[in-house]
Amino acid sequence: MKKNWWKALALILVTYTLLAGLLMDAPRLNILNETIRNLHFHVTMWFGMVILLTASMVYAIKYLRSGQITYDDKSVEMAKAGVLLGSMGIITGAVWANYTWGEPWSGDSKQNAAAICLLIYFAYLVLRNSMKDEQQRARVSGVYDIFAYAAMIPLLFILPRLDPNSLHPGNGGNPGFNAYDLDSKLRVVFYPAVIGWTLMGVWIASLKIRTRQIERALED
């Protein structure tokens, strides 16, 4: 039970996010109106994705340094959970964009960067499937994982901020994050939601890591 406290925490935080995010009083701004509640789902899932993909990259480095296959298991499952959160983030984002910007996909620079980022990680999964030898697969895909992560940073964090025409907040004269929550009402839900979604991702990943290890033990 001692080890599982974080799963309980994940459940509590996600339930809290769902309830508070949908029911709590939200600040009303022009155009955004009630859709601001999506902040607790769309933005937090992206935060979770970045955290999980970072974890995946760290495990890939650990694998390359030590050569222990368990690190590779962790790396790939973290990446998969990250891709799951990323896909959900892009879908919730499209729903949000549909109501605020008028269309689900408006070619915004951050949307494009997000799509490319997912493409990179799909390519990573394709690469993994194209090799049979376990150690070689782990090594080559670990190398690509780190390489892709290094390529993703300018993509997600630097390039969209240079685009003066981005529709996302914080770019090109649009109000930044702080303009939404003058009374910090949103923060009360936002930060727990980030932790909650991330823990959910880690939970999914840890279950799949354990199945992998059991399968490997059965094969040996």
Partner: protein
Amino acid sequence: MNKNQILSLIEKELLSEWRQRYALNGMILYLASTIFICYMSFGLKAGAIDAITWNALFWIILLFTAVNSVAKSFIQESRGRALYYYSIASPIEIIVSKIIYNALLLLALALVGFFIYSFVMERANEDGATFDLLYFLIAIVLGSLGLASSLTMISGIASKAENSTSLMAVLSFPVILPIILMVIKLSKNAMDGLDRSVSTDEILILVAINAIVFSVSYLLFPYLWKS
């Protein structure tokens, strides 16, 4: 890392390229015929295309040529020869020499391509913008460097997998996109003859991305090479 080793490896690449000139000629012909296909299919006799299309098309043609020509740097290397390199040189020397060689190759191809492209493709010049040749050439140099370093690494990764030629495209396109976007922006600025200070940001970012990709390849290639 030994400078002489790297130099002799580059020399060897150049020599082997020169000895089997059909590969080099093939690439130039690939470039030329792609440009000609674009020329014919846009029906340029009727009129020039927009500056945006002109620029984007040029870089897309270069991208595909680059993927095709760099792909062979590891994929077409025979197993025996790879083993031989493994025994005589350190992985860092190999990746550095391959990147430098590919950068030279792509630069040469890009310049030839630019020459043919601007020779056939007519460019619409609506508002009398002056073409800033120097900055366009800077864009070509930075672009070929970036393409060379990331594609060389990806080619090394893809060569370890089955079905590597199609994998090469899948793995490289998303990684290359930031470089291509920046280069397109930079060369568009040059084409419009904008003030040079406008492009400083793009040049800095391109140099930074190149530095990231190069250093990551430098750090990671030894792990890849071991297998």
